[in-house]
């Protein structure tokens, strides 16, 4: 232990034993004005509205300021209606498909960025991922509309090559939602994989290569096992974000609805707040469960305390 470390240790010890107890006594007095505003803000404008939403989902009618009889009717309506069941299944399958795809194509990118040694080149590659991430989802989805529509970029190109005569239908269906969401969440997958891949020493791969392992073997025996946690965490995160997303499915899905767009349909066009609230609860239930599992696995836990 160096003398500096010893000094720092001693100082920390003194602080913990003699100073901290005194500060702690004072701290509740200081905590209220510093922590209070933020906590109060979220309790009033986040938790309270969610609680009200829960209660509305158990009521048959929505009249401001009154509570009507509690009922499971809205939930029963959802469970008994094939349309809602299909929408839910479509949403969950979309989550699995998008999470799997973003991780599969994000993996080589994350590996490439973490293994690029030149700082300037790494920034360029990072920008290719971060620029779309900072661009609003509406604009990115706008870009996909230009590419995917029947008279769009891709179909024009395919007709020009003579591969097709008519048009490949890639919007107003599941394909549009899938392509758009893979693009929206690719940066999230790359960033979460970079954290995990950055921790693997490149020397480990060099050693395996020197000992005669093929590149494929390095990937399957070293990289994948060591980044297992990153992959799992990334999967759960992208899954939760995918099932929650509204903007992209709304623009690229047309009449093909997912949970989020169904909620909006019931508020915006049908003004059935109670059913919309119940749908919101179902969606929230899935999203929160996945995030809780992810936190439990220790992926996104914040190291504050």
């Amino acid at each position: 232990m160096s003398i500096i470390e010893t000094g720092r240790q001693a100082r920390t010890d003194i602080y913990q034993r003699y100073v901290k107890p005194g500060l702690d006594q004072l701290s509740s007095f200081k905590t209220v004005p510093t922590l209070g505003p933020g906590l109060l803000f979220l309790i009033v404008f986040f938790f309270l509205p969610i609680v009200i939403l829960v209660s509305i989902s158990f009521q048959a009618e929505f009249v401001a300021g009154t509570v009507s009889e509690l009922t499971f009717g809205n939930y029963l309506k959802i469970v008994n209606d094939q349309y809602f069941i299909n929408t839910l299944i479509r949403t969950l399958l979309m989550g699995v498909a998008v999470a799997t795809t973003t991780l599969a194509i994000g993996y080589p990118v994350a590996y490439h960025i973490t293994r690029t040694e030149s700082g300037r080149r790494r920034v360029v590659f990072m920008l290719m991922i971060i620029v779309p991430y900072l661009t609003s989802v509406v604009v990115r989805t706008f870009g996909w509309l230009i590419i995917l529509l029947e008279n769009g970029f891709l179909n024009t190109f395919l007709r020009w090559t003579g591969l097709i005569n008519g048009a490949v239908k890639l919007v107003n269906n599941e394909w549009g939602i899938y392509i758009g969401l893979v693009h929206v969440f690719l940066p999230i997958a790359v960033i979460s994989l970079m954290t995990s891949l950055g921790k693997i020493e490149p020397e480990m791969e060099h050693a395996a290569r020197d000992l005669g392992a093929s590149r494929v073997r390095v990937v399957t025996r070293i990289l994948l096992p060591l980044s297992k946690r990153g992959l799992l965490g990334g999967f759960l995160l992208v899954f939760a974000l995918t099932i929650s997303s509204f903007t992209t499915p709304s623009i690229l899905g047309g009449n093909t609805e997912v949970m989020a767009t169904a909620i909006y349909t019931y508020v915006g066009y049908l003004t059935n707040f109670n059913l919309a609230a119940a749908l919101a609860m179902v969606l929230m239930g899935f999203a929160v469960t996945v995030i809780v599992i992810s936190n439990y696995l220790g992926q996104r836990r914040m190291e504050v305390v």
Binding site: F62, V123, F246, A276, M302, V304
Partner: protein
């Protein structure tokens, strides 16, 4: 027999091709909006038959359609950025430094808005405002966007606070600095990166938002992403692409500004 060298080389080409395609996939939709806005024809032409900036003038000539929503979005995002940063930084400081009882639970409260789908938060706020009798519009939007912006500030500032030795603050206090001076001249410079990163994310989250704004705008006063979202229903036009480019460039300008103070690539 194909030699191992050949296999390796083919594999390396395949790897590079795959990488190049993924990078292209990532950047293409953004680029194509820029290209669309530069082409002279009403409909999409590829390659464009020329380069023109007229669509930017066309877009801004319709001030009520695009200019006003842009100003409105900017105003809200700036207010939200400041508000979220102030209450988020204070909360993070209290959580990390004063370590109150139930600190980890309170930490959970502050990150909760990130786990709930934004469409659900928007709907919950709409119903809440309706019940307490608050009209939708500017104030409702500011509140809604702050709810989803605060978690970023708390997370980024907490990370920054954990990264430096608490003894530094203690030393300043020992040397006679009062609590304010310590915070202003010791703590704040050390957590600068976290504060700016949080402010940047709060700003961008508000400025780009659709799922919360969807419920909280009032007729006749809309945000820019909402206007683009609504107009996309009628198909794409070059002036819509031009205003989309402006929307994107504003974010990049803000990122570039923040990059003068902190290294933005460090955030990711």
């Amino acid at each position: 027999m194909v030699s191992d060298r050949t296999v390796e080389r083919l594999g390396s080409y395949a790897y590079r091709t795959i990488l190049a395609s993924i990078y292209a996939f990532s950047i293409l939709p953004v680029l194509i909006v820029f290209v669309m806005a530069l082409g002279p024809s009403q409909t999409l032409q590829f390659p464009p038959s020329g380069i023109t900036f007229k669509w930017y003038f066309v877009a801004f000539a319709q001030f009520a359609e695009y200019g006003k929503p842009l100003m409105f979005s900017l105003r809200i995002a700036v207010i939200v950025g400041v508000l979220a940063t102030v209450i988020g930084t204070m909360a993070a400081y209290a959580l990390v430094r004063f370590r109150p009882q139930f600190a980890s639970n309170i930490q959970g409260v502050f990150s909760a808005p990130l786990t709930i789908p934004q469409i659900v938060i928007g709907l919950a706020l709409l119903i809440f405002f309706y019940q307490v009798g608050l009209q939708t519009g500017e104030l409702a939007l500011i509140i809604g966007h702050t709810v989803i912006g605060v978690p970023f500030v708390v997370i980024f500032v907490s990370v920054s606070l954990n990264e430096f030795d608490e003894a530094l603050e203690l030393s300043a206090r020992d040397l006679g600095a009062d609590r304010y001076q310590t915070f202003r001249y010791v703590t704040l410079p050390l957590i600068k990166a976290g504060v700016f990163a949080g402010a940047l994310f709060a700003f961008i989250t508000s400025y780009n938002n659709v799922p919360v704004s969807l419920f909280l705008i009032k007729p006749g006063q809309t945000t820019l992403p909402m206007r683009i979202f609504q107009n996309l229903e009628y198909g794409f036009t070059p002036d819509l692409a031009a205003i989309a480019v402006v929307q994107v460039l504003v974010v990049f300008a803000v990122v570039a500004l923040v990059n003068l103070v902190i290294d933005v690539t460090e955030i990711f």
